[in-house]
């Protein structure tokens, strides 16, 4: 077997993950715990990186292509690094009509990312949402669980600034 990933010494999160995998190893149909293991990995790392999937592949002896299949099948797995905050622009009909596309453009520029990506400072991950049930406020975006409506480009930028300063202040 050729694998260098099994010895991720130095990162305690891998020790933790290994402990978890080891606790399952003697169960019947060990491989069927893959989803649980990936969940644990996501809890530890925030998302599933190639490195982490290779590690799981190696330690559980499950081919990487199969792990990739599982990781892409379930929506609850993140395959990219997640920012501290998730910004989702509503692309529902009402918001779309009221200029959701402009909101999205503003955010892409301001954060320097495409949809699904995380800003370099690690603070924001940009996403899209279907109607979030606040059509009266369209166009709308959500930051984590908070809804922001009646958006304009300026308003979007000032909201983002607020979050950015808070995050930096906390750090």
């Amino acid at each position: 077997m050729s694998c260098n990933d099994c010895n991720k010494v130095g990162d305690p999160r891998y020790d933790e993950l290994k402990l978890y995998i080891d606790s399952l190893r003697d169960k019947p149909h060990f491989e069927s715990y893959l989803i649980a293991v990936l969940h644990r990995a996501q809890e530890l790392f925030g998302y599933l990186s190639e490195e982490t999937m290779n590690y799981v592949s190696c330690d559980m002896n499950i081919p990487t292509a199969q792990i990739w299949g599982v990781a892409t099948f379930y929506h609850f797995f993140n395959l990219t690094k997640q920012g501290k905050h998730t910004v989702s622009v509503c692309m529902g009909t009402a918001c779309y009509v009221k200029g959701a596309a402009d909101v999205l453009e503003t955010l892409k520029k301001e954060l320097g990312v495409e949809i699904g990506e995380t800003s370099d400072d690690g603070i924001f991950t940009l996403g899209e949402a279907r109607c979030v049930g606040a059509c009266g406020l369209a166009p709308v975006m959500m930051i984590d669980d908070e809804i922001y409506g009646d958006l304009t480009a300026d308003k979007v930028i000032s909201i983002i600034k607020k979050y950015r300063e808070e995050a930096k202040g906390a750090a």
């Binding site: 050729s2 694998c3 190639e50 999937m53 592949s57 081919p63 990487t64 199969q66």
Partner: protein, 594 residues
């Protein structure tokens, strides 16, 4: 009534069948061919496409016949109006999302989806569904992946994991967005793909294809500034006829050589000759390793899919690989040195084309380790399918053409060279010559039956000068993986191992013609016919042993000296390397009870 027999009714006719079969298997044995897509007898049952539905009286809905077992008293209907309509709807649904560009598609005329839809009586299309718009993956030297043509039957995924144990492919994503791809959506080039091309063979559509070299070769053929040389691998002659409607196993070597001349090649050579040369070097290497305590078991290296498989999955075993280049790369080396000298042409002005049963040969040709004194040994490597297409495209009447002989000196070959194309052939050829090298005598019986046939792993013990030589042969990478686990557990068990990446050996190569309407991929009957074409050619040859080839003798006298000479080492041998592509780990395979 016998214990295991039950009674079923198909289309109101009564039959006695064995218990424990599926409805589809029972129907097959009774002469009813139920349409199917995701099912393949050598792969696990997926039950995904539902093309194979039948009506079972008393069942609430239609039953997928590939997955449902027969039950005593079962009344099955395969061809009612309702079932025909339902099946047609299923296939139409597939077509709705399929790019209907058959007239520019490589599989046109040899596509399972086309055949299926024609057999459903689908003539007009009323509805255009959402099309897929994925990027094609051309990164690999050997295999092109085009998800737009994929109908998600999953056969390639199971082929790559269950038969080949490479598990490069998976179904990623869900629903309409499901795509067959390597881990991490990486290009085939960076993946663990070993380039065997078996996914191409098993795919019903054009979603997997070889990286095409035929247009480039056509360009070369009209270039007067270069000398055009071609060499044809053993197994191509046993299979190419199928592309022209001939029976599997029709030996077409004369037609191939004649067609290649008509296409415009200046020198038409036979890779069989360098197969003989490979045997001279490989048998000598084996004898040397055995007598001087070298690394054993020695493992053959002529299958480039296998070589990459070993390099990445068993990197600790690289030293076990024979250092011999493959017959194709030896042909290139000899053409660009010895032969170039003979015709007085700078090797830079020679273009050498290999015609191979194999997609991985394209990858091998591009490996810098195969170069000859800084020149690429094989400029282009065509698959059997590509050559067949070129012959058709150039309007050559392959079936009726007058057979011709290859050119010398790289033309004459022995029966040992031609059997390279079938699993066990390299082993048998090597044994014939190694026996002579060790004892100075010829073996009594020239055939080595124990290493012939399609058993996944074959073993034989030979007695040569009171020395016990133990050998093993595996074909298909799943069997190779099993054999490697045995070797890791019992390192002393074998002296010499032959491994071919493709099921059946090169005759089942990833570049061979697609199955005709009356056959399916991996069908052992067709493979056996191709193999017998090679064994018959061996029987018919007066020369059965590589060391009897007079032109091989001349080549050593005039040029190489002797096997394993310094010159041989420089030109005919190479080295291999550990590889660690992203996302490895084939499943460890339980060793046979050994």
């Amino acid at each position: 009534m016998k214990a295991n027999e039950i009674t079923i009714y198909i289309n109101n006719k009564q039959y006695k069948v064995q218990k424990g079969q599926t409805v589809m298997q029972a129907a097959d044995s009774l002469g009813y061919h139920i349409p199917r897509l995701c099912y393949h007898p050598k792969l696990s049952i997926e039950g995904a496409c539902r093309v194979c539905i039948v009506e079972v009286e008393g069942a609430k809905s239609f039953v997928a016949s590939c997955a449902a077992p027969v039950v005593d008293g079962m009344r099955i209907h395969t061809n009612t109006k309702a079932i025909r309509q339902a099946r047609r709807d299923i296939v139409e649904l597939i077509l709705d999302n399929h790019p209907q560009d058959c007239h520019t598609c490589e599989r046109d005329g040899n596509c399972e989806l086309q055949r299926l839809s024609a057999s459903m009586g689908i003539s007009k299309r009323f509805f255009e569904g959402e099309r897929k718009h994925y990027e094609e993956d051309h990164s690999s030297k050997s295999v092109v992946r085009n998800p737009n043509k994929c109908i998600l039957c999953g056969r390639c995924v199971r082929m790559c994991s269950q038969i080949q144990k490479v598990t490069n492919l998976g179904l990623a994503g869900r629903g309409f967005e499901t795509v067959v791809m390597p881990a991490f959506e990486q290009g085939m080039e960076d993946s663990v793909c070993v380039n065997c091309g078996q996914c191409i063979n098993i795919c019903p559509t054009a979603a997997f294809l070889e990286q095409g070299h035929s247009e480039a070769v056509f360009d070369i053929l009209s270039d007067d500034s270069v000398v055009k040389v071609v060499n044809v691998a053993p197994s191509v002659r046993a299979a190419i006829g199928e592309s022209f409607g001939l029976e599997a196993g029709t030996n077409c070597e004369g037609q191939i050589f004649a067609s290649l001349r008509k296409l415009g090649f200046d020198y038409v050579f036979d890779t069989n000759f360098t197969a003989d040369l490979t045997i001279m070097e490989e048998a000598a290497e084996l004898v040397e390793r055995i007598t001087t305590g070298g690394v054993l078991p020695m493992i053959t290296s002529c299958s480039p899919g296998w070589v990459k498989c070993l390099e990445q999955f068993h990197p600790d075993m690289v030293a076990h690989l024979s250092t011999c280049k493959s017959p194709m790369s030896m042909a290139g080396a000899i053409i660009k040195t010895y032969f170039a000298g003979k015709i007085g042409v700078d090797p830079k002005h020679i273009v050498n084309v290999g015609v191979m049963p194999c997609t991985a040969k394209k990858y091998e040709a591009a490996r810098p380790e195969m170069n000859t004194d800084g020149n690429i040994s094989t400029d282009y490597s065509l698959t059997t399918r590509e050559l067949a297409w070129m012959i058709k495209s150039a309007g050559i009447d392959f079936v009726n053409i007058k057979p011709e002989e290859p050119d010398n000196p790289i033309g004459l070959s022995t029966g040992a060279g031609v059997i390279f194309g079938a699993t066990g052939g390299v082993m048998e050829a090597a044994i014939r010559t190694a026996y002579y090298m060790i004892t100075g005598k010829e073996m009594g019986e020239v055939k080595v039956e124990a290493v012939r046939g399609f058993e996944g792993i074959k073993e034989a013990t030979l007695d040569i000068n009171d020395m016990e030589i133990r050998v093993a042969v595996a074909h298909g990478l799943g069997n190779a993986a099993k054999l490697m686990s045995i070797v890791k557990k019992h390192p002393e068990r074998y002296h010499f191992i032959e491994i071919m990446a493709c099921p059946g050996g090169c005759i089942g190569g990833g570049g061979q013609p697609y199955p005709m309407t009356n056959s399916i991929p991996l069908d052992e009957k067709s493979l056996a016919k191709r193999a017998s074409a090679l064994y018959n050619s061996d029987d018919a040859n007066e020369l059965r042993r590589s060391h009897e080839n007079p032109f091989i003798k001349t080549l050593y006298d005039e040029f190489l000296g002797e096997p394993l000479s310094e010159k041989s080492h420089r030109l005919l041998h190479t080295h291999y390397q550990r590889r660690e592509p992203n996302g490895i780990i084939p499943k460890e395979i339980e060793p046979l009870s050994a």
